[in-house]
């Protein structure tokens, strides 16, 4: 089976691994918002440096993660092209339906860059937090919001994080299986995509059903043993540090 690192939990004894999951979720949310505000090269470089440092601090396999970005290239390319094509400005190249513009291309590159940073932020969160603490963290944060089914939402979130790496693994496995049967000889890209997407969706739904049955067999009802949280000075320090970085980032860059 293909072995991906992105979104997988990596068991380590680092500072980030030991942080309280609620604090980690809030910090990640703040970094995500700050990344959303980054709209200049200097701001994006600054955020990239911070996130890369966090990746190293979490002892995640940085080079491997960069290599695995290739699975998102299609999404990134589409995002950049749509921006380059749809945002008006100085024309660079004529395409059916409009011009590729310089402003559009810049905006597309920035957008793609932000998506990559967000992918890495999610990887830091999932790579340093076990599923149960992530689930309990989300539940604890959502409990204060009225009318929200915190328990169910937390389980859904945590299952998404379990599913994403598995589904990526499966996609890679299916792609390789199709390559082994010379799918690359097919000239029509849409047909090639269909050959991959149809069985992939079928497998995904089948797998989801199997997981649900297995969870039911193990008495899953939504009500579970609660986690015990211990917020320490270290956690508060991390939160304060994150707030300072994000605020100064938004105000000065």
């Amino acid at each position: 089976m293909a072995e991906l690192s992105i979104f997988h939990y990596h068991s380590q004894q680092t500072y980030l691994h030991q942080l309280d999951s609620r604090i980690k979720l809030v910090c990640m949310l703040l970094f995500t918002m700050a990344t959303g505000f980054a709209d200049s090269i200097s701001a994006l470089i600054f955020m990239t440096l911070i996130i890369t440092t966090l990746l190293f601090l979490a002892r995640l396999p940085v080079l491997k993660l960069f290599r695995e970005l290739r699975y998102f290239l299609f999404l990134l390319l589409i995002t950049m092209l749509v921006h380059a094509w749809k945002i008006p400005g100085t024309p660079l190249l004529f395409l059916p339906g409009g011009f590729l513009t310089q402003e559009g291309l810049t905006s597309g590159v920035f957008y793609g860059w932000r998506i990559i940073l967000l992918l890495f932020l999610s990887t830091i969160l999932t790579g340093t937090t076990t599923l149960s603490s992530l689930r309990e963290g989300i539940k604890s944060l959502l409990q204060s919001v009225p009318f929200l089914p915190a328990e169910k939402l937390a389980t859904m979130f945590s299952l998404v994080f379990v599913f994403i790496p598995l589904l990526l693994d499966k996609a890679v496995e299916m792609e390789e299986a199709q390559k082994a049967r010379c799918v690359e000889n097919r000239k029509n890209p849409i047909k090639r995509l269909l050959f991959l997407v149809c069985p992939y969706l079928y497998h995904t739904f089948l797998y989801a059903e199997e997981v649900i049955t297995a969870m039911e067999a193990r008495c899953y009802t939504g009500k579970r043993t609660d986690s015990v949280f211990h917020i320490t000075v270290r956690d508060w320090l991390c939160l304060v540090f994150t707030i300072i970085i994000c605020l100064s980032f938004v105000l000065y860059l």
Binding site: S11, L159, V162, P165, M215, A217, R218, Y220, T225, D226
Partner: protein
């Protein structure tokens, strides 16, 4: 031996009209080691999914300790552990220890009790050294052992294994087989669904053959082994071979 689980006139019809189980009657007694065998599509998996209420019968009923399982499905699922054919779909934790804790946490046990049960289950299955490993990186045999640990941590009375040897290499089969036998020796009632009689039949007290949705034979393995090929199940190789030799454990 007292009866723990009782299946009475069980019929299951799918929504497309296909009747997969027809008028099945079965009793499981304390401490038994039962093998349910049958060809693909004979209804074995559908039958065992009724044991803990994952499927409910169209007709008939399933009783646990004389009470219909529908009275308390959660209690039933805790008492009857079910191991699926595909271990991957049974794994929901990101580490071994987290996955084993999933069941006890669902029972809302105290944190200390959860930790104690997890530790015990990991010890029994000899997985303690892998407690922080990622389940998806384990070998097939280890994944199957992890799935068993996950069930064991819920302290079930009956453990049902659905095709436990599928996709395992020789050492994987041996690991799983040893665990099944150990669990039986420790007092668990065991039900194994398989068509691979050669690997395990020697350890069973009872052989149940399912064919086309019905139980067609139910008795001591030695008494019905010669008839299995009538029902599309391969009889272990060797003329006049004794049932006691039908195991992969030497």
């Amino acid at each position: 031996m007292s009866v723990i689980l009782e299946v009475e006139n069980l019929t299951h019809k799918f929504s497309n009209g296909f009747t997969v189980i027809k008028e099945v009657n079965l009793q499981v007694k304390t401490g038994e080691f039962i093998i349910i065998a049958g060809p693909n599509g004979s209804g074995k998996t559908v039958l065992i999914k009724h044991f803990n209420g994952l499927l409910l019968p169209t007709k008939g009923r399933v009783l646990l300790h004389g009470q219909p399982i529908t009275k308390d499905l959660l209690f039933t699922r805790q008492r009857i552990g079910l191991l699926f054919q595909n271990s991957d779909s049974q794994i929901v934790g990101q580490t071994v220890v987290e996955d084993v804790a999933f069941g006890p946490e669902n029972l809302c046990l105290s944190r200390a009790e959860v930790e104690e049960r997890v530790e015990r289950a990991l010890q029994v299955l000899d997985l303690t050294h892998l407690s922080q490993a990622r389940p998806y990186t384990l070998s097939g045999g280890l994944k199957r052992r992890l799935a068993i640990a996950g069930i064991l941590a819920m302290a079930p009375q009956i453990i049902v294994f659905d095709e436990p040897f599928t996709g395992l290499d020789y050492s994987g089969v041996i690991q799983v087989l040893k665990q099944i036998i150990t669990l039986h020796q420790k007092g668990h009632t065991i039900v194994v669904v398989t068509h691979d009689l050669e690997k395990i039949l020697a350890h069973a007290d009872r052989l149940v053959i399912v064919n086309k949705g019905r139980i067609v034979r139910d008795g001591k393995p030695g008494e019905i082994i010669d008839e299995v090929e009538e029902f599309e199940i391969r009889k272990p190789y060797g003329k006049q071979r004794r049932v006691e030799t039908m195991t992969w454990l030497s």
